[in-house]
């Protein structure tokens, strides 16, 4: 680095550190006297249970969203025009309405009256299952679009060559189209999974005891401030950062291959 940019960099870095430091000290000056980390420690068990629940919801909804994503993608490529249009309309509806509405409407209006009792009788947590289902459909709608984009981006000759060597319809997807399409959409998919983890916090509105829900309860019961929100943010970061890193790594790895 030559002299000038070096100095400029140092100056900007200094300004940022000072600015951030000032913000932190101001916030701590207001809250500092009331911040009591032992409160968070007291509630560690609920927080841990919430975090663990969020992790499980995320994994389940991730698998669910892959299932729905594939379904929506194939639906949009169906030879039947009715299936294609229904699929399009449904996707458009899902993508253009808030997840919060899906959860409230889907749980209280559609699913709870239908399946809450049978689920409960069999010893399942109906809120959790319906919440995961709704979250899967919502993220699946986005994933369906991502996958469709990836599949559409594969040139026509690849489909034809695959048919020419004698692959069946399923084999064409399995051995030729998906491996190429997935490489192209992996970064977008990883981004979506990061969103999914964060969106799972919305399940608190139907009373699923996940990380946000438990933290919120802890905060309102103990009048906590920083000691509630800081672990909350960190807890989500622990889940999302590995996914983000993984996506960057995959992106780099596959870039050289095509």
């Amino acid at each position: 680095m030559t002299r000038r940019p070096l100095i400029a960099n140092i100056l900007v870095a200094l300004a940022l550190v000072v600015g951030f430091g000032w913000l932190c000290t101001t916030v701590f000056a207001v809250l500092g006297t009331q911040t009591d980390w032992s409160k968070a420690w007291e509630y560690r068990e609920t927080l841990w249970r919430g975090w663990w629940m969020t992790l499980r919801i995320s994994v389940a909804a991730l698998l669910g969203s892959i299932f729905f994503g594939l379904l929506f993608m194939l639906g949009q490529r169906s030879p039947l025009v009715v299936v294609r249009w229904t699929c399009r309309a449904f996707l458009e509806f899902v993508r253009d309405t808030p997840l919060l509405v899906h959860l409230l409407f889907g749980y209280f209006v559609i699913f709870a009256p239908l399946i809450s009792r049978p689920l409960g009788e069999r010893g399942f947590d109906d809120k959790l299952i319906i919440g995961i289902l709704l979250l899967s459909v919502f993220e699946g709608a986005y994933l369906g679009e991502i996958l469709r984009g990836g599949v559409d981006s594969i040139p026509r000759t690849q489909w034809e060559s695959a048919r020419a060597v004698g692959f069946s319809r399923f084999q064409v997807y399995r051995y030729v189209i998906f491996p190429q399409a997935l490489r192209r959409v992996l970064p977008a998919m990883a981004g979506l999974f990061v969103s999914l983890i964060k969106d799972s916090s919305l399940l608190n509105v139907i009373g699923v005891a996940e990380y946000f829900y438990n933290t919120k309860n802890f905060i309102s019961r103990s009048y906590a401030g920083l000691e509630g929100y800081v672990p909350l943010a960190l807890g989500y970061l622990i889940l999302t950062l590995p996914v983000a890193w993984l996506s960057h790594w995959l992106e780099k790895r596959f870039r050289h291959e095509t």
Partner: protein
């Protein structure tokens, strides 16, 4: 091979790519389709190869009527080979894997068998050095040769080649044409479309001139190139032979 085509019609929107096309070939080893671009060569070849279903008309190869249901067409494609202008290979697989994967998944060979067969196919065309390269690391000519190696790895009944050298420079064209000549000499039944007139003349034992969705002329190469009868074929040949 023996070939019987009657009243073949195929429309794309309002254009008639094949328009009541008929062709009867008693016996031919290498049948070459020539003619102007957009005249219907590719469409005819794709229908013969079972990649496109005709709107009307019938095709029979070696006395076997070509059916139009998906399962029969797939079975038909499995016993033949087809090569396009370019991008034949699957870019995420090595040259070897491009050949062995269909052998495993389509023809039910064990991975070890498929591996050996792929090796032999590559070796036959002196491509063994490139076995572990991805298509992007190969030249256009090498890609086409691997494509042909894949198509003939399991002794296809008929090998269909749709303008196999149109996307290549002259040097690569030569290497691919040599390979096709070699296959023809070895007795492989081939139907190919091309713009390489010299090659068509040398390799074909029958030439069909396809224009406006029909066979305008059909005869042995010496005759068709020497004394073309139809006006449209005369015009075409005088134009392409001028330079």
């Amino acid at each position: 091979m023996k070939l019987d085509v009657t009243g073949l019609t195929k429309c794309y929107g309002t254009t008639r790519a094949a328009d009541g096309l008929s062709l009867s070939v008693e016996s031919s080893r290498v049948l070459v389709l020539i003619g102007p671009s957009g005249g219907g060569k590719s469409t005819l070849l794709r229908m013969l190869g079972g990649l496109e279903i005709p709107d009307a008309g019938t095709i029979a190869i070696n006395g076997q009527r070509l059916l139009s249901d998906a399962a029969a067409l797939q079975a038909y494609r499995r016993k033949n080979g087809f090569l396009f202008q370019q991008f034949n290979l699957f870019p995420h697989l090595t040259a070897r894997r491009n050949i062995s994967l269909p052998l495993e998944k389509v023809h039910g060979h064990t991975p070890a068998e498929a591996h050996t067969m792929a090796e032999q196919a590559l070796d036959r065309f002196s491509l063994l050095d490139h076995a572990d390269k991805l298509p992007a690391q190969l030249s256009g000519g090498q890609q086409q040769r691997v494509g042909i190696a894949r198509a003939v790895a399991r002794q296809p009944e008929v090998l269909f080649l749709d303008e196999p050298t149109s996307a290549l420079d002259p040097e690569m064209t030569a290497e691919v044409l040599e390979l096709i000549q070699e296959l023809a000499d070895a007795g492989q039944d081939i139907i190919l479309s091309t713009h390489e007139m010299g090659f068509a003349r040398a390799v074909a034992d029958q030439v069909a001139f396809v224009a406006m969705g029909k066979i305008a002329e059909f005869s042995p190469p010496a005759e068709l190139f020497g004394t073309p009868k139809s006006a449209i074929c005369q015009r075409f040949l005088s134009r392409v032979m001028r330079y």
